[in-house]
Symmetry: C2
Subunit: 238 residues, 2 copies
């Protein structure tokens, strides 16, 4: 094989490993299978990675990073259509609806991708050294989702009645549940009906904002009118 610097070979091996995991599963992702997929001898793998677990850790880092940007893109940017008058609350539900629908499109198009994510999550759970890492990854996802939710809510002229952090966590819970359930029964129509119920249910957590307060003080990200720090105080419905 042509001479390759370590970082490039590292990337190639990670990409090959992701393909193998998606196609054959983590259990079948041996060092030899990865090397064969990457088209390089087995020794080259151990020249870059000290062990198989080291490579799999790098794989997990890569796919979780991609997972986070995917999570942020679930909520589409509402800038395209400025919110018209009336039925503003329904707009947020529609936003969630199209976002979840977009995710389901991706899921149905290449289920192996999500299966691979689930398998890697379980592998992480089984590896004591990485259990804490996973906790941090999910926390980051929630925190990355909060400003996206705040921006969407602001565009729809509504505000959450519960801490946005809980809404973000609820959204992740919903996406995870929709994924595993669809993977189990492959019922596309039922999954989309359930996704519609989920979108309506989450949208029901948002209340329309007073029109005079719409152009009010809260413009910086963080959404000060909906408990941005997501602390211990329980949701108090006014």
């Amino acid at each position: 094989m042509t001479r390759l610097p370590v970082p490039e070979r590292r990337r190639a091996l990670i990409a090959a490993a992701i393909r193998v995991v998606a196609r054959d599963g983590v259990a079948a992702t041996s060092t030899r299978a990865i090397a064969a997929e990457a088209g390089m001898p087995l020794g080259a793998l151990h020249y870059v990675f000290v062990s198989r677990d080291d490579l799999l850790a790098a794989v997990i880092d890569t796919v979780t990073a991609g997972q986070r940007v995917a999570a942020e893109s679930v909520l589409p940017h509402p800038d395209t259509q400025p919110p018209a008058s009336g039925a503003l609350l329904h707009t947020f539900g529609a936003l969630l609806h199209t976002g979840l629908g977009r995710f389901l499109d991706l899921l149905e198009a290449e289920p192996e991708r999500e299966v691979a994510v689930l398998e890697l999550n379980l592998y992480t759970l089984r590896t004591p050294a990485m259990a804490g890492t996973m906790r941090a990854e999910y926390e980051e996802t929630y925190q990355a989702l909060v400003p996206v939710l705040a921006r969407a809510a602001r565009a729809c002229r509504c505000a959450s009645t519960v801490p946005l952090r809980d809404v973000a966590r609820l959204l992740v819970t919903a996406v995870d549940g929709l994924t595993t359930t669809w993977l189990a029964d492959r019922d596309c129509a039922a999954t989309r009906r359930v996704a519609a119920l989920v979108a309506d249910g989450i949208a029901a957590l948002f209340a329309p904002l007073a029109p005079d307060a719409a152009a009010g003080q809260g413009d910086e990200p963080g959404a000060p009118h909906d408990h941005p720090e997501g602390g211990l105080h329980h949701a108090d419905h006014p």
Copy 2:
């Protein structure tokens, strides 16, 4: 080892395999590990099961059967406290709340159990011969949940505005999502807050029944007033 008939040894091996899967994961569940856990020589395993995959299939059958009865017990029997007057709609939400809380108690008490279920689900997904089986298992779970939901709704004097089958599927989606999310971040308090939101959201799908129609015609299981056959017709809010 003392002489054992095949069915008993079969049960013992399945139980041992379940313990190994919960403790060490599917990947570490080798024939030798199972035999050691059961305290019997390796040859005895292959005398009962033709192959490791055969044993794992039996394991999956056993745990999915247990999973179904667990799913039915998520909705506690409402017979203990006869519905008082007023706030009948809140009663159904409370029922869901306690049911989900009970499940979370179990999840936090022994997470290995649910991790094992997830691993076995993924193993089933990866095994082409069993992919169809899993579809059927989930369908059975939905169908088992429909009469439970119908009974709970009747006791709470309310009826679903969407097909009960979709509600059952939504409940399974919620439980799956709550499980995976808690396993990832281990945030018990946040999980229970999200579970409360889920319970409220599902309860919002039910509308109070007219008091004269409460003792009406629908007494047999199947709940004729809420689209029991879960067909294609979309939910029409009256």
